[in-house]
Symmetry: C2
Subunit: 257 residues, 2 copies
DNA sequence: AGAGTGTACCGTACATTGTACGGCTCAGGT
DNA sequence: ACCTGAGCCGTACAATGTACGGTACACTCT
């Protein structure tokens, strides 16, 4: 990155910030909450790249450096943004468990909810997540998503593994979708135009090498989805497969119970 | 990002670069190949953040702007790096198919190979992949990885979906592992020290709220792996589950055959 | 009321980035 | 011997995160 290198972040300070109430207004009404909201609004429309301390300050009509009174730095700001967007994911901690369809229905519900946030806030993919793992909203999310897997006979580690598997799939697929959208957007080209631009060079250059399977499958996929990939299809195909794969484990454990 | 905004990249130019031979040396022996190799070496040890045109040029003992004679910009350079590291993934296009264990063994082999590159070159996760999808090495990789799924009775779209599912899992898990390593590394703290630093603030701040399931499971996982997560375990658990989930689909299709 | 003090606010400065631009310097063709 | 084009590179600039030191206000204490 540019700019002066960030000072080593103090984990305890970050944690306190994460769990703080964020509502004590200062002289000009500036709050952590307001800063985070403004930053999220900006990132939603222009991505994390376009999010700078200056643009956030400008939107709030404050001096750039005033932000640093409330937030230690940009890294911590993105941590807060991350925690924030997961705040309203579930109405209550039993919402997934109350879905019809047992554990399978619950996991499908969880996957869909995660998919929704991820596609609404694609910048999430660029936030390093490890540090925020202990924020209040993330912790509540973890609690909420684990509950429908409890009491099925799975070990604690298995519960965590199963949930992680589903979430990794959703996140990875959403990320691919977001990337596709982004390149498409800032190339300014439609899929069709892009292909017209690429095609002649590609055929020139690929002549001599042979990729029979790749060629056939790639063409089929392209015709079927009118694109190189369809994130929605990847999501459901993968989710179905994963849940199918989880079924024998869970039924065997439940039987032992 | 910093610096002047990158000019809109010309896809055709990128493609030509990707497929070019890269071996025509100039006055001072500078080649695209040499530039890419230097960049990869740098990124391997310091990550993509530390990779700047200046550091690459320095390592090659050339002026910074000389790089631009061979490479249009940083974006295209990372594209080339990406394509490059996938070049030697497989010895030949039938290597996965020749593994024991049929399609399952082949997919396990593929997952492992991908896992190896991803962990050897963690910066891959930060390269936008959509643009490189048509590089020569990536295309060969796609061909190679599709072959073991051919002739099983799956449709073309199903073949692609199955492969994508496996690769998304591997990539997502590797990414999580890389992130864990990175935060651990540049916090300078061991897991133990980190926990000691966090713990008092956390207990102070969590009192009042209750996360029974999350607390129990989180503790179990932590004790079991001595860490918040174990990427290797996540990899095998997920892979097993996914392959189990793929089995009914494939056997039903093969039966029809 | 007056004085003192801490905290919110912010203007300026600086290091670092990607790369546009224009000049220099050679190798090779005529 | 000269010309030309390509390889090379020094300088300049816009943008970034944030360190540093100053200013001004709200509050407490006398």
């Amino acid at each position: 990155m540019a700019g002066r290198k960030a000072a080593a972040p103090d984990p305890a300070r970050s944690l306190a910030l994460l769990w703080g109430s964020h509502t004590k207004p200062g002289r000009s009404g500036l709050t952590v909450r307001a800063i985070v909201d403004a930053a999220i609004a900006l990132a939603d429309v222009s991505g994390l790249d376009a999010l700078s301390m200056r643009t956030v300050a400008e939107r709030l009509k404050v001096g750039t450096m005033s932000l640093y009174t409330h937030v230690p730095g940009k890294g911590e700001l993105t941590d807060l943004m991350f925690d924030q967007v997961y705040g309203d994911l579930y109405a209550d901690p039993d919402e997934p468990s109350n879905q019809p369809g047992g554990w399978r229905g619950a996991l499908e519900f969880i996957a869909l909810r995660n998919w929704d946030v991820l596609t609404a806030h694609p910048w999430i993919h660029e936030v390093p997540t490890m540090r925020t793992a202990l924020g209040p909203n993330i912790t509540r999310k973890y609690e909420t998503e684990l509950r429908p897997l409890d009491g099925l006979g799975l070990t604690d580690v298995e519960m965590d593994s199963a949930l992680t598997l589903v979430l990794t799939h959703v996140q990875g697929t959403a990320r691919a979708g977001a990337e596709q959208l982004r390149t498409q957007r800032d190339s300014g080209l439609s899929d069709e135009e892009w292909w017209r631009q690429i095609s002649p060079t590609l055929t020139t250059v690929m002549s001599g090498t042979h990729f029979p399977t790749a060629g056939r499958v790639g063409t089929s996929v392209g015709e079927h989805f009118q694109s190189a990939m369809d994130p929605a299809h990847a999501l459901t195909f993968g989710l179905t497969t994963i849940l199918d794969g989880l079924t024998p484990l869970i039924t065997s454990r439940s039987a032992v119970q």
